[in-house]
Amino acid sequence: MDKPDVALAKKISKYNQPMQLTQPLPRVQKNLWQLGVLPIMMLGALSSLIGVYWDIAWHIDIGRDSFFTMPHNFIYAGMLIVLLTTAWGLFADTRATSFHWRVAGRYLHPGMLVATVSAALILFFAPADELWHRFFGLDVTLWGPMHLVGLTGFTFFTLSGVLVSWLEREVAPLELKPLFERLTLFFAAALLGNLMLFLAEYEYNIAQFPIDFHPLLLSALSVFPLVLIAKIHPRAWAATKVALLFTAIRLVMHLWLSTTEGMNLAGVSKPVFPILILTAVLIDLLVKKMPTWLLGSSAAVVTLLVGFVVNQIFPQMTWTLPVLLRGSLAGIILAALVALLATRVARILEPKAI
């Protein structure tokens, strides 16, 4: 029997020892999903949509009894959490990517800057709206000046969600790119939801402004998120997925309104929601085949046709012929311009660096 090779055994045992680090490994910098900012922004986008529709139902059937109603508390608490999270995210995100801005020795994420300012705008709107009502009484329209400040804040907040998730995709490793692509779809659906929120008075059938604005804004505003996502997203049927997700969100909201009504925590009014799936299918099919302005106008025509059919099935919402002619013509022209704007934004968001 051979003698054991002591020298070899020593060598092996040396290699079996845990590795001793001579210097610390570089700290892995977390992205905004890992920091927890994007999940909170997702919840914020969803809760703002549900909260505002809940609030409108409350105002219609119960009234504006006080500032601290349940829907108000729901919206403002949600947006306060979002504001704190996005403001923290601005400082916690220490990466220096191609899109971060160097300001006073720090790197700021531009999308997070828009998100923080938008959330601050929404929280500014709460006391401003209360003061407005105390000074001037209860105005009965969603398009009152202070209400519009809030709606604008919600819209830019969800647009910032699209920017943040899309920019994160740009610098994410390959295995994380699908996550950020899905997040971009979600925020595009939330953006579509917030743009449709401007039409809530028509959806609830309590219009305070001429009905002409309904077909006009419905056909024009819906074009922006759908064309934008169809232009930037690498996967097929992106606009259709956004329209389906938007429909799912509206169904969840309907369920929420029914549940709160059952618990005597909301009014009985429910909004009729727009069907935009066919519009999105058309955009997906023709996005690479026709000029942008024509794509926008064609999408508007489909939205108007579907809206007209829905109008026949649910006759509460009456688009008369003069209303349809005036609103549609303006809507088709505006949709062409909105599609051009969406294309311009899509070009800016095209990936520049991997």
């Binding site: 191609s98 899109f99 705008l121 105005d139 519009l148 309590i206 219009a207 009456t318 660096a353």
Partner: protein
């Protein structure tokens, strides 16, 4: 800041209020299950009239019909005509809105409508916002909103412009 705040409050309280009422006559004439309605004002108006009709027993305002009605001029009078199906006798709520948003005149009547009988009633359209608030408040409010919107659009445009320049 305190000065501007006090100036705004002073301006709001010192300016006279706008006209706050309109009067019209609503004629209702049911014919073969359809209610023919006519709202007549003794002055020239150009706004679209929004009419909401529903019955109190209906579950929720989503049951309401909203009708946009265009004006037609007859001499110095403005007439709005609209119709809606009525199958059985009962209490109705009719809400009429003339003008837009906070500048709107809103009327509310509760006629008992019988598909066999005609009737008429007096409609009083009121702008409660105009009763107490000076006329310039609404334009100033929208101007403030325009500034806020401009700020939001400007910030986003700036962000996009900087993003465009990234390498």
């Amino acid at each position: 800041m305190r000065f501007w705040y006090l100036l705004l409050v002073f301006c709001c309280l010192s300016s006279p209020a706008r006209a706050a009422s309109l009067y019209g006559t609503l004629k209702l004439e049911p014919k073969n299950g359809v209610l023919q309605a006519e709202l007549r004002f003794s002055q020239i108006l150009s706004n679209q009239l929004l009419v909401w009709m529903w019955q109190p027993r209906q579950n929720g305002w989503q049951e309401r019909r909203s009708l946009p009605v265009e004006p037609s001029l007859e001499g110095q009078e403005t007439v709005y005509r609209f119709q809606t199906p009525v199958r059985e006798a009962g209490q109705w709520y009719i809400r009429t809105t003339l003008g837009a948003g906070q500048a709107a005149y809103i009327g509310f009547s509760q006629p008992y409508i019988d598909p066999k009988d005609s009737g008429s009633s007096f409609v009083f359209l009121k702008n409660s916002f105009a009763e107490t608030v000076p006329a310039y408040v609404q334009p100033v409010g929208y101007a403030v909103y325009a500034l806020v919107a401009l700020f939001a659009v400007g910030l986003t445009a700036l962000v996009l412009r900087r993003l465009e320049q990234r390498t």
